[in-house]
């Protein structure tokens, strides 16, 4: 099973966001988990990121209105955490762990290889919007270092050859 690509809604579509019935019912369900609506903020943001691919300002506003928070507050929370995309992500976000165990087990090699193969480094994306590299901190899988998380999925015990195979597979599956 290969990793599914992210479909990021374009910024125009997210200028003003109205949740549809399906979203509303999921939000309503999430609210039952907590004694206060604000506590549903992270889960609702996750829902939005899944739905729209990223958290545009319009999404923050809609979430704020739904949970009775100020948009600035929501923005403060969104940007505290590293996993919410505040710009439209590429279809595949390659999150390369760079912390100690991965670093001593070849994370640098992976990054060098990615630079060679895709021509990009951490913080950059390929011009066609297929790949984006993000250097991340320990992914909690150090025993199988080096580790790359692609979108939601972990790929462990990687080396340049396995990475190549993975990139081929992803590039092929992107449509």
């Amino acid at each position: 099973m290969s990793t599914a690509p992210i479909h990021a809604a374009n910024p125009e579509e997210l200028r003003e966001v109205r949740f549809d019935a399906a979203m509303e019912s999921q939000i309503a369900e999430l609210l039952t988990h907590y004694p206060i609506p604000r506590a549903a903020l992270l889960p609702v943001l996750w829902l939005c990121q899944k739905r729209y691919g990223w958290i545009a300002p319009g999404v923050m506003e809609a979430v704020a209105a739904r949970l009775g928070l100020s948009p600035a507050y929501v923005q403060g929370v969104v940007t505290f955490y590293t996993m919410f995309h505040t710009t439209p992500p590429a279809r595949f976000v390659l999150q390369v762990c760079t912390t100690l165990s991965c670093a001593v087990c070849g994370a640098g090699e992976l990054l060098a290889h990615l630079r060679k193969r895709l021509g990009i480094g951490p913080g950059e994306r390929t011009p066609d919007g297929t790949f984006q590299i993000v250097g991340v901190q320990c992914l909690g899988a150090c025993g199988s270092a080096p580790v790359v998380q692609v979108n939601d999925d972990y790929y462990e015990n990687l080396d340049p050859a396995k990475l190549d195979a993975l990139l081929d597979e992803l590039a092929a599956a992107k449509e």
Binding site: T98, T99, A103, G140, C142
Partner: protein, 437 residues
């Protein structure tokens, strides 16, 4: 030792409720419900179980801090944030045996009188959050959870709450803030969560592994648990071993094995026939130990005696090729990246350390740098900060400088850029997406 926590590893279909029940699953919960909260707490106290999340606080005692007569709800939170570098044991339990965690949560919740529990799991663990959701679904369907737990009349809901990328949210009060929909800023203590926790109510936060110990304490008895290891350091422990060992991975061993046994017997020694240089015994926040200290026992008290800590049991093994200045720089970068930024010494100190270490690596070290590093570490720890993240970088980094000072001095004396490596050992993580403007 026969595995308790990793019993399911390698079994076909081990994640299913059926498999769990066939292994005597939920028997511990059944016993707990029959014993009553007080007795359950007493068993856990007698077992001498200490928290596996990092601080090693006696679990049963922590439960007794919850005010007995407090009106209104109270909560149990399972800490599945697992973000300490070098730690990947909770993921292993969830991967193979999610019901073990759920049973542990149910027992603890019952003991403290909570009717709602949350599993706070790090945002990156999408797969493991889903595995937990599936298992919870099964348990709800089979009336193991819900309004009438196993027909006892006790009600319990468990919800999975995903983080979104922040190491600091493993710290229990930051976790609670995050659970409440806020930025993960650790809270001032006191009050402690057991008194004022989630949503202002008494709350116990326990690590996944801690909770996973509970079912067997109830089925096999506290004496059995206490017979493993030595007094005050009892029970089986998961060691996550990573770095330059032949067989990295998660090992379930009795507390009190030596790091020599862990590294050289269980993990097959150092890769490529190289020599051990240093290791972090309990995640990257524990002061480093050198090869000469490899006979230290892997338990809470022995590690404390050796001037370090067992922490989460994440053993990061470094061989002789590792440049300790680079290792320090890598860790400093991690902590600066993860500092919540609330308090001055941690926010400024962690970033400052990165600057100094990167400057040394770039060949512009100054003679006073090691002392400046030690000074920063001294004043970013020991109660100077709100939460222990200040200590979490100060202690390991100052230990690296103290124990490998010659490496720093050589680098500084050479004062030229280090010879370029084929591949940088320490990649630069680059800017965060959405971080900055």
């Amino acid at each position: 030792m026969e595995p308790t926590l990793l019993k399911a590893r390698g079994l076909e279909g081990s994640r299913t409720l059926a498999s769990y029940l066939s292994r005597g699953g939920y028997e511990g919960l059944r016993r707990a419900l029959a014993l009553g909260p007080q007795e359950v707490t007493k068993s856990v106290i007698d077992s001498e179980l200490r928290g596996r999340g990092g601080a090693g606080f006696p679990t049963g005692r922590k439960w007794t801090f919850v005010p007995k007569d407090h009106p209104g709800p109270r909560y149990l939170v399972c800490n599945a944030d697992e973000s300490e570098p070098g730690t990947f044991k909770d993921r292993e339990i969830i991967e193979h045996d999610p019901h073990l965690v759920i049973e542990g949560i149910a027992i603890a919740s019952f003991a403290i009188g909570a009717h709602t529990a949350y599993i706070y799991i790090r945002g990156e663990f999408v797969r493991w959050a889903n595995l937990l959701e599936q298992a919870l679904g099964e348990a709800r369907r089979e009336k193991i959870l819900g309004a009438d737990v196993l027909g006892s009349g006790y009600s319990l809901d468990i919800w999975v709450h995903r983080g979104a990328g922040a190491y600091i949210c493993g710290e229990e009060t930051s976790l609670l803030e995050s659970l409440e929909g806020k930025r993960g800023f650790p809270r001032l203590k006191p009050p402690f969560p057991a008194v004022v926790g989630a949503f202002g109510k008494p709350t116990v936060v326990n690590n996944v592994e801690t909770l996973a110990c509970l079912p067997s304490i109830l089925t096999r008895g506290p004496a059995w648990f206490a017979s493993i290891g030595r007094p005050r350091n009892t029970g089986p422990k998961l060691f996550s071993v990573s770095g330059h060992v032949v067989r990295p991975g998660v090992y379930e061993l009795p507390l009190g094995v030596t790091f020599r046994e862990i590294i050289f017997e269980h993990c097959g020694g150092i890769r490529a026939g190289r020599k051990l240089k240093a290791f972090f015994p309990g995640g990257s926040s524990a002061p480093v130990l050198t090869a000469a200290e490899v006979d230290t026992k892997a338990d809470f008290d022995a590690c404390a005696e050796a001037g370090t800590m067992l922490g989460s049991g994440g053993v990061i093994v470094l061989d002789e090729t590792v440049d300790m200045v680079e290792a320090a720089a890598n860790l400093a970068h991690f902590y600066a990246h993860e500092s919540c930024g609330q308090c001055t010494p941690c926010r400024e100190g962690s970033d400052w350390l990165v600057d100094i270490l990167h400057r040394i690596l770039a060949g512009h070290g100054r003679a006073e740098d090691p002392d400046t590093i030690l000074r920063i570490c001294r004043f970013a720890s020991q109660g100077m900060t709100i939460c222990p993240l200040g200590d979490a970088f100060s202690l390991p980094i100052s230990s690296i400088v103290s124990k490998f000072r010659d490496e720093f001095e050589r680098r500084i004396a050479a004062a030229t850029p280090a010879p370029p490596r084929k591949h940088p050992v320490l990649p630069w993580a680059g800017p965060r997406p959405g971080f900055g403007r």
